[in-house]
């Protein structure tokens, strides 16, 4: 049976990217990134339990340029996943399926998650 000669539906390479698709895969992507973020979080907790020296070492590592960059990424991933998660919960409740609303809530997720990320880093630097 020549199954490979059958016409295929358009796949990712040919399908035009749209906000909805990008935001959908980003939700999973940020979720995976946050799951990896469990490791530095647990390291930080164990460093505190280990005493002052180990805490200072962990703090130095996290406050290094690379550490700060990664923490910034995790902050955005957290707020994106949180905001888009609320969008998902609204869909679960049956609200917001009209194309117009889907795009409005989509843009709202970007704005709110960027604002929250900015707010957290503003607090962190003002301290």
């Amino acid at each position: 049976m020549a199954a490979h000669n059958r016409p295929l539906s358009p796949h990712l390479q040919i399908y035009q990217w749209q906000l909805t698709a990008v935001m959908s895969i980003l939700h999973r992507g940020t979720g995976a990134v946050l799951a990896i973020g469990i490791l530095p979080f647990v390291y930080w907790l164990m460093a505190i339990a280990g005493g002052e020296a180990s805490y200072n070492q962990a703090h130095g590592l996290l406050a290094s340029p690379l550490g700060l960059l990664m923490l910034f990424g995790w902050t955005f991933a957290l707020f994106y996943h949180l905001c888009n998660g609320i969008r998902h919960l609204m869909w679960d409740a049956g609200w917001g399926f009209e194309i117009r609303t889907v795009y409005q809530t989509g843009y709202a997720v970007w704005i709110v998650s960027l604002l929250l990320t900015g707010a957290v880093w503003a607090i962190a630097f003002w301290k």
């Binding site: 999973r28 995976a32 799951a35 707020f79 962190a124 630097f125």
Partner: protein, 131 residues
């Protein structure tokens, strides 16, 4: 040969013995993922704010923060609920992208063992500081 579908099911016999199709317990995961998600909204906002406040804190400040009862409770809740939510999410990702049954099974087991170990380790670390 007469095709024998069981009453009320459209699944063919071959598919049934090969365990294809719904395992009938996916709804539980779905509900738990949503419940943990709802709980994580306030927990994550509190966590992000706390971390921002502790950004340049010295050791004594962090310990005092962790010993404060509300923070101890919320931190442990965040670990249980958050790690559980991560577990459901990674499970879903592995199910979708890992196609070899052996790789999938080994990754699932490793992920579950790792998350349970990390949960116990973090709760112990918090209690050691807080108690």
């Amino acid at each position: 040969m007469k095709r024998s579908f069981s009453k009320g099911s459209f699944r063919p016999p071959l598919g049934r013995v090969q365990n294809l199709g719904s395992a009938r317990d996916g709804t539980e995961d779905f509900i738990r993922q949503r419940l943990s998600a709802i709980a994580l909204v306030p927990l994550c906002l509190w966590f992000a704010y706390s971390m921002a406040c502790l950004s340049v804190a010295d050791y004594q400040t962090v310990v005092a923060w962790m010993q404060f009862p509300i923070n101890t409770v919320l931190l442990i809740l965040l670990i249980f609920v958050g790690f559980y939510h991560a577990h459901v999410g990674i499970h879903e990702i592995f199910e979708d992208y890992l196609h070899s049954p052996v790789v999938k099974a080994l990754s699932m087991v490793a992920m579950k063992f790792a998350l349970i170990t990390l949960t116990v380790a973090s709760v112990l670390a918090i209690l050691r500081v807080a108690l």
